[in-house]
């Protein structure tokens, strides 16, 4: 059983801002049904660059729903610059922490937000860079290296907790281990 904080449980049972925004200023989508979780984030941004409303549709576990709910609550009223600074740790913190194995839910929130903001800027987020390492969850070496560095991940288990990569068939585990080793050697 996951040791969810009271806040996670509360946001799961009573999620805020569920739904779609028709004519949203920006939409960011992350995940897929095969991945086991997915989040579609809708932002309503006014002319002053302030997020007036945020809504979500989420497929996923309790912490995925709670993270989505938290993210939308956090976003409302922020400027775009402020919104850009929200990290996955901020989302987890807002919820009173997430079990390590569930950190990928907060990462998904952060990524959906990135996508929405890029779309708003008309920036068509660059195609996925790097080589896909984990086929099951469509994760590239770049993404893994980034997560290992930013979150100071130590093992393949850690990587799975944050990115899901490696948590499926397991075929990519050796490659992930190599990547971790490379990062650690460089440090």
């Amino acid at each position: 059983m996951w040791e969810y904080s009271e806040k996670v449980k509360e946001h799961f049972m009573n999620p805020r801002n569920v739904g779609e925004i028709e004519d949203a200023s920006a939409v960011g989508e992350k995940g897929s049904i095969s991945c086991g979780d997915a989040l579609k984030l809708y932002l309503q941004i006014n002319d002053d660059g302030i997020i007036e409303d945020a809504k979500f549709m989420t497929f996923g576990c309790a912490s995925a729903i709670a993270s989505s709910s938290a993210l939308t609550e956090m976003l409302k009223g922020l400027t775009l610059q402020e919104a850009e600074k929200i990290t996955n740790d901020d989302i987890a913190e807002y919820l009173g922490g997430l079990p390590k194995e569930k950190m990928h839910c907060s990462v998904m929130g952060r990524q959906a937000l990135e996508k929405a903001l890029a779309a708003y800027r008309g920036e068509d987020l660059p195609e996925k860079e790097g080589e896909v390492v984990c086929e099951c969850f469509d994760i590239t070496d770049r993404e893994i290296v980034k997560a290992v560095k930013e979150n100071n991940l130590e093992s393949t288990d850690d990587v799975t907790c944050f990115l899901k990569a490696g948590g499926g068939c397991g075929n990519c585990l050796e490659k992930i281990e190599d990547l971790i080793r490379t990062v650690k050697e460089k440090v």
């Binding site: 799961f12 049972m13 999620p15 569920v18 739904g19 989508e29 049904i33 095969s34 991945c35 086991g36 979780d37 997915a38 989040l39 579609k40 979500f56 549709m57 989420t58 497929f59 996923g60 576990c61 309790a62 995925a64 729903i65 079990p99 194995e101 569930k102 990928h104 099951c136 799975t160 907790c161 899901k164 948590g167 499926g168 068939c169």
Partner: protein
Amino acid sequence: MTTVYVDNNATTRVAPEVLDEMLPYFSEYYGNPSSVHAFGGNVAKKIREAREKTAALVGASPEEIIFTSCGTESDNAAVRSALKSAPEKKHIITSAVEHPAVLNLCTALEKEGYRVTYVPVDTSGNFDFDYFTQSLSDDTALVTVMWANNETGVVFPVKDIAEKAAEKGIPFHTDAVQAVGKIPVDVRELPVNMLSLSGHKIHAPKGVGALYVKKGTRFHPFVVGGHQESGRRGGTENVASIIGLGKASELAVDHLPRVDTDVRHMRDYLENTLLETVSFSSINGNRERRLPNTVSIGFDAIEGESILMHIDYAGICASSGSACTSGSLEPSHVLRAMEVPFKSAHGSIRFSLSVYNTMEEMKYIAETLPPIIRKLRMMSPFWDRCNDKA
């Protein structure tokens, strides 16, 4: 709030009769059964009785029963022993939907140099018998195939498998952990060399199991130590739990007819009601050839853990597959092997009943679940798409 426990394939309640039998053997008759003194000797007698009862449950003789610490140990012991008995052979046949106790062991064995055939199943979870017969070879040291699947309840044709293996002179082990106590299991009716069972699936405590080893089948101990279990399993006996398993074995024989009637009836009611009241729901696995207590049902476009959490708040204990799940978000290996589409695989819930369940409980579940499914679907980005297709 009362608890509605429908997770009996994960573990069961220790039957009160079982606990009663066990209780004196903790602080009162705590002697070591290997001791010379009568205080220990009387414990040895109780263990002998338990062995008789557990043997009777599967149609074995008492000398053919080795008590172990769990189903997993039984599986490990069986597989390792068969491999030691045929050190020159390097091929194992199993199924793609075994419990991790067999599956993870087989993966480990691949690293030790073994070749493993994982016999696939079809979309209803049925064993591919042709594939199996074609994979038998002179190099095959062991066939190990489960009797019934823990997630879907699908029952495999173990008799046919056993006979085919026997024809080729290959030892056959079956993980009958989920079959025992739910459907008739009798080692006299098929040429099985080894059979694993676990106490906590039949209302004995967790942490005790048994391995049947047919007379004449060579056995190499897995846990090596003292002379316990006729030298076939070292370690001071788990006395109270073994006595509990003996009593539970006796009860299981008594309960079996009710599992086939009452329990089956409750399961069918629950299953049919849910299928009727929840659109885009489907059963995983062959509905005909299935344990009478199990239903695995998939709800499209939503995710299992969030369903489980919601029903947990309503006091309902179920599971989204094997209880041994880690943080992984993949659907279980069983549903993947059956190629259950992702849209329903992720939202699959297993209800597994026991004789302690009641019809009222089934009604409660059938009433509680639909609004939860609806709520989750309303926030799923995939629900529309499902709906569209309709």
